[in-house]
Symmetry: C2
Subunit: 398 residues, 2 copies
Amino acid sequence: MVSEQYKAMLSGKSVIRTLSEFAAKRGEEIGYENVFDYSLGNPSVPVPQEFTDCMIEMLQNDNPMELHGYSPSLGIPSVRAKIAQSLNERFGMNYGPEHIFMASGAAGALAHAYRAVTQPGDEILTFAPYFPEYNPYVNLTGAVLKIVPADTDSFQINFEAFEEMLNEKVMAVLINSPNNPSGVVYSEETIEHLAGILREKEKEYGHDIFIISDEPYREIAFAGVKVPYVSGYYDNTISCYSYSKSLSLPGERIGYVAVNPACRDAETIVNMCGQISRGIGHNCPPSIIQLAVSRVLDKTADLSVYETNRNLLYDCLTELGFTCVKPGGTFYIFPKALEEDAGIFCQKALKYDLILVPGDTFGCPGYFRMAYCIDTEKVERSLPALRKFVKEEYGNRG
Amino acid sequence: MVSEQYKAMLSGKSVIRTLSEFAAKRGEEIGYENVFDYSLGNPSVPVPQEFTDCMIEMLQNDNPMELHGYSPSLGIPSVRAKIAQSLNERFGMNYGPEHIFMASGAAGALAHAYRAVTQPGDEILTFAPYFPEYNPYVNLTGAVLKIVPADTDSFQINFEAFEEMLNEKVMAVLINSPNNPSGVVYSEETIEHLAGILREKEKEYGHDIFIISDEPYREIAFAGVKVPYVSGYYDNTISCYSYSKSLSLPGERIGYVAVNPACRDAETIVNMCGQISRGIGHNCPPSIIQLAVSRVLDKTADLSVYETNRNLLYDCLTELGFTCVKPGGTFYIFPKALEEDAGIFCQKALKYDLILVPGDTFGCPGYFRMAYCIDTEKVERSLPALRKFVKEEYGNRG
């Protein structure tokens, strides 16, 4: 008989996907260029040319049996070594190749991290606003995801609520900075405060509490904003990285788990990832992609367009009277809706061909997300629609 | 705290891997070309040139955002459609794209199939000799893998033992033909008999029993041998395919799940695979590899070398008096050892730099596996070593 658990999931449809499908359909009627589709977080700039050149060069010159051969279950050793070295140079860490596990994007990395440090029934805490896919990601492991309410003033951490929710069953805290959907970067102060609390609670409970740091937006930070490297502040940190956004290749499924060498079980955790992999059928990201990415580790796609878009939108939104924390990175912005129910607000915006996502789906009702990984030219064309929407629906604010 | 379940797995070391590491080490002493390494099932012929050309062509000409963009969670629609069409033409099936789910190799495909049709505590039966990775693959889902003892006369199915082991908890039967490690192809008669029993038991138990058909060697069949397409004989069949062996690209992690359209829940099962994917962090095989493979679906690497090797080894082994079922496909042969304990037999062979794998690890003690996916020239050079080994250790048999 088919599994009831997975069958039941089929009825729940993602709000983001529904809106994105609406946008595509509307595009068929009026031309997709006229739909101001802020629904999906898909990179909108090309992969660096160096990546493409390097792929072609390997395909032309390398021994195909080596190029396309099995990767060891922890990843290709030379690739793991290069990633360790790059992290050490950039963030003053002390990784060896034995602390790196190659994974199929951030989703793959997280799937291993959750299983490595929890048993069924354990709790993982995360902070609103948060990426809604964390729910199936965690809950299907047998662990339980609990959401700490947002600090809506700053979208840093609501420590009061956090401390109330901490208990002996919490084995890991899942954070995502720069954050989807708020675009906010956790400050050094936030991370240090979090680390301090966790160190105390580890002593009190007599067991490790891991930070699982989901970092796909680590390289997308705007002028003047430093993204603190979380693992540098707390030993028991498992960093989960993906090249999807920084190199603009989300379909190629490449990322890694990096376990802080100062963490007691560092090497064991990496080796355990190899075992977890057998159960969930991973067996490494593709060999050729591992090799190509290892040659462009310190490159990124041209990410400047996201900053340009952020500026255009932030200026227009604040001018229109929106309450809005200025994003420090990513390609998201998360303003407060102009009425209590963000679902109704976003519904009204559809009349103006503005596709906005209600914050409810990110555990933060009353707000909405705009994913501005679209052409700047389209962002510019969307501003009059935004102004018209606000004026007609909410009166003369700007 | 780190997961005890995965930590405990670290102490169990694969016999095949241990032997392969021994071979590599011995190679450092006497030159790897002098080690007759029959341990590992790694393809030894290059990927078809068409695949390489097509990868280069896409990298040079395609829009990088489309080429490297997210694939929908069930796979790229055009790729799924082409695979369905190819299966229909070759095997007289009736698949639509909605019956195909793209997966990261056979391991990925199987990880989805197990979860789709079992709940924790359910049983999956498979037949010795069998691929030992099935143990962690299945047991980490919460279902239980049970092994039906071998029919050592033919390495078809031991139906007597099978019928004794069938019970209401059995939700799936996992088969692998052409078989690793025996090289044997299940005959039409075997598959029809199996299907007949299952149809009866479905009625008796009042629930579906699925065949999960693991088919990575489907394209490696030797002259005169037809590989029956299992799904053509039994409606409730989930076929799990990988291009690793047929196209010689095991590192690129590409394969699929094909659910027989006549199966009651066919489309639901495919959609459930998309949900399972969220829990295990898959999110599709790499986009560029999906696209490239879809353009060379009916090609294979030059697989003729495996038949040449099979002939050389089978002739030599039978001449030396080994009991041995002639492989109909794959790149494995599975003769009976010349003493009761195949472990001791294989240990003795190491003195002659022959790396053979004891059958115990495949659930079939007293036999041994040779993986002959190596250069023919090396197979030829290994024959005198094989003759010498048998003569010196077991007397004058040949």
